[in-house]
């Protein structure tokens, strides 16, 4: 369910709400001011949402420039190229394993 963060300023103070639609009815959930734990927990939750979105963006950006993407997998550095080949590197940046993608 998509919830939109909304800010209201009342007498110079900021208050935050989450606005969403449930069964076609518009509802709001009060989070409190900027220093409230509810609001901070909401921000925690956003940052806790891990997903592949970031790496997909990096893939698109790097591959379009002809560069690989780099990440950590099982404690090794991995260079992933556009053709799907992965090079595993150790801390001395030596290639210890190459995994080619097969169709």
């Amino acid at each position: 369910m998509r919830k939109t963060l909304t800010k209201k300023i009342i007498k110079g103070k900021e208050y935050f709400y989450l606005v969403f639609r449930k069964n076609g009815v518009l509802k709001s959930q009060y989070l409190g001011g900027a220093s409230s734990m509810k609001y901070k927990k909401y921000l925690f939750k956003l940052t806790a949402e891990s997903g592949s979105y970031g790496i997909d963006k990096a893939r698109h950006k790097n591959f379009s420039k002809g560069a690989p993407i780099v990440y950590v997998e099982n404690g090794f550095l991995v260079d992933e190229y556009k053709n799907g080949t992965k090079e595993y590197l150790n801390s001395k940046l030596q290639v210890v394993k190459v995994v080619a993608k097969h169709d």
Partner: protein, 167 residues
């Protein structure tokens, strides 16, 4: 009358740590509510804004001091990737863009960025630790009113050591 305090969101980390990707990925959530602009532009506007910094440059520290003095509520999202990983990312990107890569200057910035985060900590409202070794992962949040600088520095060192460890 209570004056509204402007908000400043800083997405911080060394080059290659994924700061700009993070800003793009989460723009629909909270960062989107604030315009992403350079520090100079944002500060001169006097309005709430978000910006991307390394925290390694001395002018970053001066600007954050200025923002703090002007009453900005500062939130930092600090990206942890590890020295080798961020160095490779920065190197590939610069090579792809035809920019020469200096390893020594990268290493200097890498150390300075962590020092910058420690020296800025007490001016912040909250500091989030985000690990970005493959995907964005929330690690912790520190509030200077609740967590001392000493405890924060220790936690920072632990995370730094863990992300730097490569087999």
């Amino acid at each position: 009358m209570i004056e509204e305090q402007p908000q400043l969101i800083v997405i911080a980390g060394v080059p290659g740590s994924g700061r700009s990707t993070f800003a793009k990925c989460y723009k629909n959530a909270f960062i989107h509510s604030l315009p992403l602009m350079s520090f100079k532009e944002g500060l001169s506007s006097g309005e709430s804004f978000s910006t991307i910094l390394t925290l390694a440059a001395p002018e970053d520290m001066v600007n954050l001091q200025k923002a703090h003095r002007r009453g900005y509520r500062i939130t930092i999202y600090y990206m942890f990737t590890g020295r080798l990983l961020s160095m490779l990312r920065a190197r590939y990107r610069q090579i792809a863009e035809g920019i020469p890569f200096s390893e020594s200057s990268f290493k200097k910035n890498y150390a300075a960025s962590y020092k910058g985060l420690i020296s800025t900590y007490q001016r912040c409202e909250i500091v989030f630790f985000i690990r970005n070794q493959k995907e964005f992962e929330f690690l912790a949040a520190y509030d200077p009113k609740k967590t001392s600088l000493e405890v924060f520095s220790k936690a920072l060192k632990v995370v730094k050591t863990s992300v730097d460890a490569i087999k």
